[in-house]
């Protein structure tokens, strides 16, 4: 560009700057005002509205029902409870089928195939017992609930109900410095934290969106539900008389969920008043008109967009974790496997916070997926306690058919009621799985906030478990 043109450009910019002082502050507002005036004028000439508005009334009546003081909350609770109930009930069947296929049929077949082609046993162990088994486990636990939960959630979303939930619950979140839409990302988190983090995109205020992302981990995801239910049945349900055992263990799980909600609000409140105090904040929530959802398209997009993408990420992370789990249990140094050595080292720390070395090691190597925590715990317990006749050998994760059998293994591994209670708490309060961590990084684009979101819950978990253990030991 020639000197002359450049000078001309600069002179235009300088003049514009001078004129900005002259036109003053309110200029931007006035420009928008004029724009809207024009829009009103044009719309007035081109739009005619006839007196009758039947659909409008339908929307209004429905809104009255869904947001009224008396019916708003009961309907919301019923709907969400129905979604969860259907998910749990329906997911059981395909879960068992997939587990039967991938774990009980394909896995032995693969092992046989390995023997047949004379694969060295370490390779077949690493590939089939480690990597394959972890991936298969993640798929069988994760896929069915997500494939049921997400479409139902998406249907409610497409119909237009979810914004009304955010509308009704906003008062709670406002007090915590968060956005009403966080209620939805939270519920989404009960399906999968990574999906919940992505869903935080619907929050358009920077501060509230960060809060929603950081606190999403306090919703126990579907990889953690089975842990909660199993441990509650074994350790807490067993304390009650048999006829009440079911109710008591269910109450224990609900309590953990409520503790999660409590921490979510407290951490939101704390974040909005400390580290996020200065971040920009605004509120707006559009309540779109109700639209009949298109079921087939919803099924397609929610399975493709949400379920499969999340599942794929989880599998990608689970495979190396499976390899690692197999390796630490099978590489021996001085006659003991790495797993035994590490568990021995972690045991004192574990005991201090009312857990044990096995649990800590399981959580460290099972970062990629919460689904494989219990199988890993069982395998490590058997390995460390040198039990025989249970499980499939060192490095082979397994689960037992009945809660009683699991209980006996765990009790043989030295577990007490305190271990159970603290495991439930730690399963709620620990770092997000690696899929979620990766998603948080992608969504925030910030290493700082990813670190906060990762370390905050685990530090909370350690502190809470430590305090519970101390109180427990003082009282008991």
């Amino acid at each position: 560009m020639s000197q002359n043109v450049q000078a001309k450009a600069e002179s235009i910019i300088t003049r514009a700057r001078g004129l900005r002082w002259q036109v003053g502050e309110a200029f931007h507002d006035r420009a928008i005002e004029a724009l809207y005036e024009e829009a009103t004028h044009i719309a007035g000439r081109s739009v005619t509205i006839s007196g009758e508005r039947p659909r409008f009334n339908f929307d209004r009546t429905l809104d009255r029902l869904l947001t009224s003081r008396w019916t708003g909350f009961p309907i919301m609770v019923l709907l969400l409870a129905a979604v969860f109930w259907i998910t749990i009930e329906l997911a059981n069947i395909p879960s068992k089928m997939i587990a039967g296929l991938l774990l009980d049929t394909v896995h032995p077949a693969l092992k046989e195939f390995g023997t047949w082609i004379q694969m060295p046993s370490w390779l077949s162990g690493l590939l089939f017992d480690g990597m394959y088994l972890a991936a298969a486990w993640v798929i069988s636990v994760m896929l069915p609930p997500m494939a049921i939960f997400f479409p139902m959630f998406t249907l409610l979303e497409d119909f237009g109900y979810l914004p009304r939930v955010a509308f009704n619950l906003d008062f709670l979140f406002r007090k915590a410095g968060a956005h009403g839409k966080q209620a939805l990302t939270m519920v989404m988190g009960y399906g999968c934290n990574a999906a919940g983090v992505v869903a935080a995109r619907i929050i358009d205020s920077p501060r509230e969106r960060l809060i929603a992302i950081i606190t999403n981990n306090f919703s126990i995801c579907n990889g953690r539900w089975p842990t909660q239910i199993l441990i509650a049945t074994i350790f807490i349900g067993a304390l009650a008389p048999p006829q009440l055992a079911g109710v008591v263990s269910a109450l224990a799980v609900v309590s953990v969920v409520l503790i999660g909600v409590f921490f979510m609000f407290m951490v939101s409140w704390g974040l909005s008043r400390t580290v996020l105090r200065g971040e920009g904040s605004t509120f707006s929530l559009e309540l779109p008109p109700y639209r009949p959802p298109r079921i087939l398209q919803t099924l397609y997009t929610s399975v493709i967009d949400r379920t499969l993408i999340v599942l794929w990420r989880a599998v990608v992370w689970a495979v190396p974790a499976g390899a690692l789990i197999w390796l630490v249990s099978n590489i021996h140094i001085g006659g003991r496997s790495i797993a035994e050595i590490v568990v021995g080292g972690l045991d004192p720390v574990g005991m201090l916070i009312g857990l044990n070395g096995v649990i800590l090691l399981a959580y460290i190597i099972a970062i990629p997926a919460n689904e494989i925590v219990i199988p890993t715990v069982l395998m490590l317990t058997v390995l460390v306690a040198k039990m025989t006749g249970v499980g499939g050998g060192s490095g082979v994760m397994f689960e037992l058919d009945s809660a009683e059998a699991t209980a006996s293994v765990l009790q043989a591994g030295g577990w007490t009621v305190l271990t159970g209670v603290n495991l439930m708490l730690f399963s709620l309060l620990h770092n997000p799985c690696s899929t979620t961590i990766y998603t948080i990084y992608k969504e925030t684009g910030s290493a700082k906030w990813t670190t906060v979101a990762t370390l905050l819950p685990v530090v909370l978990g350690l502190v809470v478990c430590f305090l519970v253990a101390q109180v427990w030991r003082m009282v008991g």
Binding site: M1, V5, K8, A9, E10, S11, I12, I13, R15, A16, R17, L19, R20, Q22, V23, F27, H28, R30, A31, I32, A34, L35, Y36, E38, A39, T40, I42, A43, R45, S46, V47, T48, I49, S50, G51, E52, R53, R55, F56, T154, E157, D158, F159, G160, L162, P163, R201, I202, D204, E286, P288, P289, R291, R294, Q297, Y300, T301, S302, I304, D305
Partner: protein, 270 residues
């Protein structure tokens, strides 16, 4: 074009001369930008044109990333860029910047603005802003089926007259109005139809004199720029992107292209 012969056979597409090309196409004759407020069915229109299946939720702000697709119509290949849904192009959110930058600097051959027929007034805000930036636009008033159920009638001819660009009524969910939309897009893209968009709403005296002064400075310097007044307005707002574009000469090259419009239209054909 790889598979028009087969698609030509099916009756649905023969009449409309539309071939959905999904995500990619070999060569692009025309670039189309798809703009619109959030939650107006923009993604549905996009899917309808390209055959892709972007998720369309009943949530404002669903489409976060920019999606691209392609279709072939009447012998030409079109690339469709689905811009993030925005309420306006004035403020400074990232979404609005992405949308604004593409319409201005991406120089699409046609900017299609999708509107919600049930909230025409609200949506006109964005339409008017797009028309300030580009001459080549088509307005697609979507969700007319929903509007009809609510007893709302849109006079498309009156609206087209007021806005100075083609207006098409569509119900993309059921495919209504898509052939007409395609025809309008082609007419504007090929230059068969020249738009005279409505510009310059009322400004108060202080602003008007400041704008006039800037226009008098910019106009002679950038002949061929289709939107001098808008550029002046953005300068008054202190828009960094425009300041940079003036400094770097980007605006100059836009203006030069505008002067030799024919070359611009035939780009990408080689």
């Amino acid at each position: 074009m790889a598979y028009p012969e087969q698609c030509e056979i099916c009756p649905v597409n023969r009449g409309s001369k539309l071939v959905k090309l999904g995500e990619t196409s070999d060569s692009t004759d025309y670039v189309i930008a798809l703009a619109g407020n959030p939650n107006v069915g923009k993604s549905t229109v996009f899917n309808n044109l390209t055959g892709l299946r972007q998720h369309t939720g009943n949530w404002p702000g669903k489409t976060v990333t920019r999606a691209e697709g392609a279709f072939s119509y009447d012998g030409s290949n079109y690339k469709v860029v689905d811009l993030p849904g925005t309420y306006s192009l004035m403020s400074t959110s990232t979404d609005e910047e992405v949308a604004r930058d593409f319409i201005l600097f991406g120089r699409p051959d046609v900017a299609v603005v999708v509107m919600d027929a049930t909230r025409l007034e609200r949506n006109l805000n964005l339409v008017l802003q797009v028309l300030e930036i580009t001459d080549k636009a088509v307005v697609c008033v979507n969700l007319v089926d929903e509007a009809e159920r609510k007893g709302i009638t849109i006079d498309d001819r009156s609206l087209a007259r007021e806005l100075g660009v083609p207006v098409v009524l569509t119900a993309a969910r059921i495919g209504r109005g898509i052939p007409e939309l395609l025809r309008s897009i082609r007419d504007v893209a090929t230059g068969a139809l020249v738009c005279k968009p409505r510009r310059g709403w009322t400004e108060d005296k202080k602003v008007k004199s400041a704008l006039d002064e800037l226009v008098a400075l910019i106009g002679p310097e950038y002949p061929g720029l289709p939107n001098v007044r808008w550029v002046a307005l953005r300068l008054l707002e202190g828009d960094q992107r425009i300041i940079d574009a003036i400094r770097s000469g980007e605006l100059k090259s836009l203006a030069l292209r505008g002067e030799h419009g024919e070359e611009v239209i035939s780009r990408g054909k080689e």
